[in-house]
Amino acid sequence: MSLEEFRNFTIRDYHALFARGELSPSVLLEAFFQRIEEVDPLLHAFLFVNRENALERARRLEKEWKGKDSYPPLWGIPVAVKDNICTLGIPTTCGSRILEGFIPPYNATVIERLERAGAIVIGKTNMDEFAMGSSTENSAFGPTRNPFDLNRVPGGSSGGSAAAVAAFEAPVALGSDTGGSVRQPAAFCGIVGLRPTYGRVSRYGLVSFASSLDQIGPMTRTVEDAITLFEVISGKDERDSTCAPYPPFSREEIPPQEDIRTIKIGLPREYFSEGVDPRMVKVITAVLRELEKEGLELVEVSLPHTNYALEAYYIVAPSEASSNLARYDGVLYGMRKGGGQGLQDMYFQTRSFGFGPEVKRRILLGTYSLSSGYYDAYYLKGMKVRTLVRRDFEEAFATCHLLVTPVSPVFPFFLGERTKSPYEMYLADVFTIPSAMAGVPSIAVNCGYEDGLPVGMQIIAGPFQEGVLFALARFVEQMLSLPLPFPEIGPERRS
């Protein structure tokens, strides 16, 4: 059996084969494990492959469901999970030395929900340390490579999940998005990535980077699968106070296909400015023209505080991070170094050795922003800008239903290309940060290729309007009918 036969499959297609007895979860798993064995030494998408546990679970599911032909929504489906989501008994490192050896004694809410829906955790994926980065080069365990070009980055911070899904090492994955960490790597790897409305998916068990921004989202090959995953993981959770008290998302919320032409699309002019790679603008503009031909209305809108969103983000997110990461002190779990010279020595050495340079940079930035005497000028000002950014979106959505923009102003760049300048790296997220700051949902969908590299289109909706988001994303996907990725990955392609 070759996995390539399944390259255009959605979860429903696997279930159809399961129901006909032509495929079983354990056979499917074995196929993915084989693929991982073949390509992951080159890609390095996984930090941990959950082989034994996953196979055992697959066999148990098969036994329990023997003779049945309808399944829970994710029954028997392997899911790759970003390594900042706690998995009971499975190492969870956040791509950091400081959490090396940490095995959570509990499951994140999303993992509980995945497993209740029959999913199988196939492994934990690589990421920028504590989700801080845009290229997965900040992983303490080495970078992940882009399946379309092994010399290029897969984006980040959920680069491992994106590469795994694009290279078909897993059919679907979970990532987390703080300022673009689901959407930007999804775009770099030519797949679908959803950042839900803040509060729509429980953060319980997601290792915090910036609590007021972090959201878990599905990373999939098709919009259809993103919808299925989102239905499973979304909804109120008693264990997360910031989780909205609403029921899970239902595909019933998606407006019917025939209403698609009533959707008015806003094009924020700030997102099509000089800073954007013109080849990218060209691809997206072509798609927009087609949408117009299909009868959708396009209007120009403005999000005037876009330019300040990035700066404000780099105050607010590091501030929260500096506090969230204080718990890694060598006392209770993870790495411990030093201590011979007392408590201070243990703190200094553990944190000096345990954290990488980008994490340290952000802890310093955040600590500074929150310090007395600077709080008003930095953190408070950052929060005020955040309010202005949110208002931008409210005003834009008064004139249109959805916004369409590029996901990132740049194509997947070469490894090492941007590591020397943090600011250059931060710019890769300039179009994903504002909607994150506003707490509104957005999705990245592939809308074409240029020079063999995928181009991502971002669709942004108002709060809790994921239904409309999915409607347009699915429409674009069907209209373009691009082949789903199954890149050939071999050492000869790595120059």
């Binding site: 900042n84 509990y106 929260e320 506090s323 929150l370």
Partner: protein, 482 residues
């Protein structure tokens, strides 16, 4: 000798009596439990765990603020107080900052009958930290462990304005504060077990115009140590000032063993806690209905009770004050008075004998074996002059020790026969018969002879009769019967 101007402010933490911790569902019943058995990912601060507010903790803190006549802010905001310490699992404490639960309250108490009033600056709610356990040759230990059973237990913090003028006032204020939290049922206010903790700011000046230097005193683990530490500190600062020196602004620890305050080890500069609103918790709106509901659960407070006791039972103020301080004792008093409506007698007996016995075991009235009815029965016997007060004291001690009723104690000790009036009459007649000389002396007008006869009766009865009753019986017999 010139005047000394003392300024003291208190910062008091009370553990709130909730069943579950402040942000998780772990039990708060940690005393005597094996370390780290009442923990979960949330109170251990594991990666990914998130806090969810226990509404009960908030309600108890609001109740405290209301009882202290605070203005209640319409929105509760939790802030993170960031600092590193091994007993702090998240590297920050969830506390409150610029939007505490209550502000601008008042606490009234009395010192030697003089009314005092201290302003309350703020009341807020926060989570407790874990506890370091040191094992090894010295206090710092060779091995240090952390017990997180206590981590996450809700605390209410009460900060007074620096309105207290002496260590005595500070101690009385603290006693009243404890009394109030116990009345409210929000905390058991036990300093020895650490469910009530007190830090103090002390400054001394030789002139009312010049403010002194603020020195913070920590590690006072009993009311007595609060008084002693503050007295020591006032004296220390006074001596420095008189020698022309200025006290250093610092934090000092009370060393209970040496009975001195010593500078705390640590940084000289003020710590920057980098407070910011906790993004894991949403602001909590306090609706007027919620306030009303909580207000309705506030019982009569100590000072109100004291006033009522003075009015209703005509108790003198000092006695009423002491009774009202202890809700259980006050309730015991009232229950007793219902059966034996002689409030003064009941009050006096409680404030002397009952307290003496309670204090000797260091327990509260709730834990004693004597019920209000049992005490009423005993006092009735005294009133009927069946027994004297000194005998009653002895009987009470036995009741207190064994839980037996007064009658049972008397039966067991063989007291009842000797002391009932009829038995006494017999003894009195015998004494009169055996001492004709003294009887003659008395009848000739020698008062002293009567005392001798009383003494003789008391000797025969082994001191267990009421001298009053004996005297009356003697007088009756000597005057020739009815």
């Amino acid at each position: 000798m010139e005047n000394v101007y003392v300024t003291i402010g208190l910062e008091v933490h009370c553990q709130l009596l909730t069943r579950a911790k402040m942000f998780c569902r772990c039990s708060t019943d940690y005393i005597g439990k094996t370390p780290n058995t009442l923990v979960c990912p949330v109170c251990m601060g594991l990666p990914g765990a998130l806090p969810v507010l226990n509404r009960k903790a908030l309600e108890l803190a609001i109740k405290t603020a209301l009882a202290l006549q605070c203005e209640i802010l319409p929105e509760v905001v939790f802030h993170r107080k960031n600092y590193f310490y091994p007993d702090l699992p998240k590297g920050y404490q969830i506390s409150q900052y610029d939007f505490p639960i209550g502000v601008r309250g008042v606490l009234e108490f009395a010192l030697q009958g003089v009314k005092k009033r201290v302003r309350i600056r703020r009341v807020h709610v926060e989570e407790d930290a874990g506890k370091l356990v040191h094992e090894g040759p010295d206090l710092r230990g060779a091995v240090s462990g952390v017990d997180f059973n206590r981590a996450g237990i809700p605390l209410v913090e009460i900060v007074t304005e620096p309105d207290l003028r002496s260590p005595e006032e500070a101690k009385e204020c603290l006693v009243m504060l404890r009394s109030i939290v116990r009345y409210l049922g929000v905390s058991d206010g036990n300093m020895e077990e650490g469910s009530l903790r007190c830090d103090a700011n002390v400054s001394v000046s030789l002139s009312p115009e010049i403010p002194g230097t603020k020195v913070e005193i920590k590690n006072m683990n009993s009311f007595r140590s609060v008084f002693r530490a503050l007295s020591y500190e006032v004296e220390r600062q006074t001596e420095l000032l008189r020698a022309g020196k200025t006290p250093v602004q610092e934090t000092r620890h009370w060393d209970e063993a040496r009975q001195v305050t010593v500078p705390s080890r640590g940084k000289e500069e003020a710590e920057d806690y980098r407070y910011f609103p906790d993004p894991d918790l949403l602001p909590f709106r306090i609706l007027p209905e919620m306030l009303q509901e909580i207000r309705a659960t506030i019982p009569e407070l100590p000072l109100q009770k004291k006033e009522r006791f003075m009015r209703e039972y005509e108790l003198p103020e000092p006695e009423a004050y002491i009774l009202a301080q202890d809700r259980d004792l006050a309730e015991f008093f009232e229950a007793c008075v219902r059966e034996f409506p002689s409030p003064r007698a009941v009050c006096n007996f409680i404030l002397t004998e009952v307290l003496k016995n309670l204090n000797s075991l260091n327990i509260g009235i709730r834990e004693s074996k004597v019920t209000p009815s049992m005490l009423a029965e005993l006092l009735k016997m005294v009133e009927r002059k069946e027994i004297g007060i000194s005998l009653a004291k002895g009987i009470f001690e036995e009741m207190f020790r064994t839980g037996m009723s007064a009658r049972d104690v008397m039966l067991k000790k063989g007291i009842s026969f000797l002391t009932s009036e009829r038995d006494l009459e017999k003894v009195v007649r015998e004494v009169i018969e055996k001492n004709p000389q003294s009887v003659a002396d008395y009848l000739r007008g020698k008062e002293k002879a009567l005392h001798f006869l009383i003494g003789q009766v008391m000797r025969v009865t082994k001191g267990q009769a009421s001298p009053e009753v004996v005297k009356n019986l003697l007088l009756r017999e000597l005057s020739g019967g009815e």
